[in-house]
Amino acid sequence: MKKIAQTLSALALAATLVPSLLFFADLLALAQVKVWMLVAALLWFVSAPLCMERKTTQ
């Protein structure tokens, strides 16, 4: 469970930044960037508490 949460939160962070870089390189439209960033935000706030909570209790 912890590993899944860690993987998902890493993916969420990547999905927060990478779309903006793709937009910079003209490989993604701004509307799509906004959708990806929203999905990434939701994913982060679902997955990060699981792995960050574990870290603090260990």
Partner: protein, 478 residues
Amino acid sequence: MNDLNTTMAGEHREPVEEFEREPVPDRALLGLRSFVGQYGGEHIAGTELMLGPLFLASGASAYDLVVGLLLGNLLAVLSWTFITAPIATRARLTLYYQLERICGRKLVMLYNLANGVMFCFLAGAMVTVSATAVGVGFKFRMPGLNDLYPNSIGWIVSALAVGLLIAVVAAYGYKFVARVANIAVPWMVLVFVAFGVIGLRQLGVASLGDFWDAAQTVIWKGGDPLPGQVKFSFWHVTFFAWFCNMAMHIGMADLSVFRYAKKSRYGLATASGMFLGHFMAWLSASILYALQLRENPANIDVLPGPMAYRACGIAGLLCVIIAGWTTANPTIYRAGLAFQAIVPRVSRFRVTLATGIFAAVAGMFPAVAMKLLGFVALYGMILMPMGAVIFLDFWVFRRLGLQQNYAAAAGTQFNWAAGTTWFLSLGICTWLVLHGGVQIFFVSLPGWFIAAILYLILSMIYQRKRSPVKRLFREREP
């Protein structure tokens, strides 16, 4: 910035034992990474979204802004490392206890009052930032760059609702918000990076090689400031970056943080906060404002909500709300603690709630947020003299044969030398700003030396009159 008071916001960062009236023991000391994480997190705050655009509104040029921020932030890091941390790691006491030993309980209460009031206004600015995100959804009229008062019913309702919500949460569930803040930080940092990257592309920057040219000709063009703003030169930017956390480093508030550091060089960890929050985040936020001005030069309003929404959609709005909320909460909480020290019989819940309501009302008035550059400089100026008092007491007094920790040694509740130093230096600094032609952004530098000289002279006079050590010995004699 202050973000100043998310200090120790994270639940897991708060030591189980607080050691409020004793030196931190060796077993409770923390490693470098704790401080890197703490400072990296606490300087990504809602107010960064105001400060970045305000630099642009003040007509800062690309060179002045970029190099000025690099130098100013370096000076801030060095101030933490060579002024705050060496005392913190030797005395290992909280700011309040150390001040109490030097100044006496009653003077510390006055300090708490000043600190608490400034915290309230700062939290108010964070409420203002969050309320601008609400305006995107409800489309009511929001305050302009030079507005001092609320300008629509929608804004009043929004700011009050956001502020009251933050106040209730601060009173009930501070730890929950601290946890959300810790979780949000890595994500917020990347959203700020995304603000900058997206803004740059929309401003026509297609490669890194284009950056500096666009920075000079499109983004930070320099020239006259926008109406109602002070012109910012290289030195304004440098001093602002150096002094915006003056209360924390030269003012010594972060003694409470660095008393846990194993070594004084851990002060260098503050670089994480300075160069993420006070460099990258300020530049990103000002890029968003430059984009807004380019799209519509008549739209000079500094409204983080709409700016973030244009760049990153709902995720940008979330970032504005969370950045404002998670930093306003600990600020209100700490203001509440400062006030509670003055009225200890009233419960922390009630004091925090009342403090939050005060901040909500302050947030309704855009004056603090729109004049945040000046307010932050004022905040540093008000608390700076006490930093000079602690510095002298720790390093100089013993060498000159003066009594250290005078109030504790003499059993006085109010060290008049320290109190007079504080009031006189503030009076002189205020006179210099109002009549002496020194701008508030610079006045704290001479102000520190004025406070130091005053405290030295006044202590020589005061201690000679009361001679506490001799009196103590006399009292002990049979």
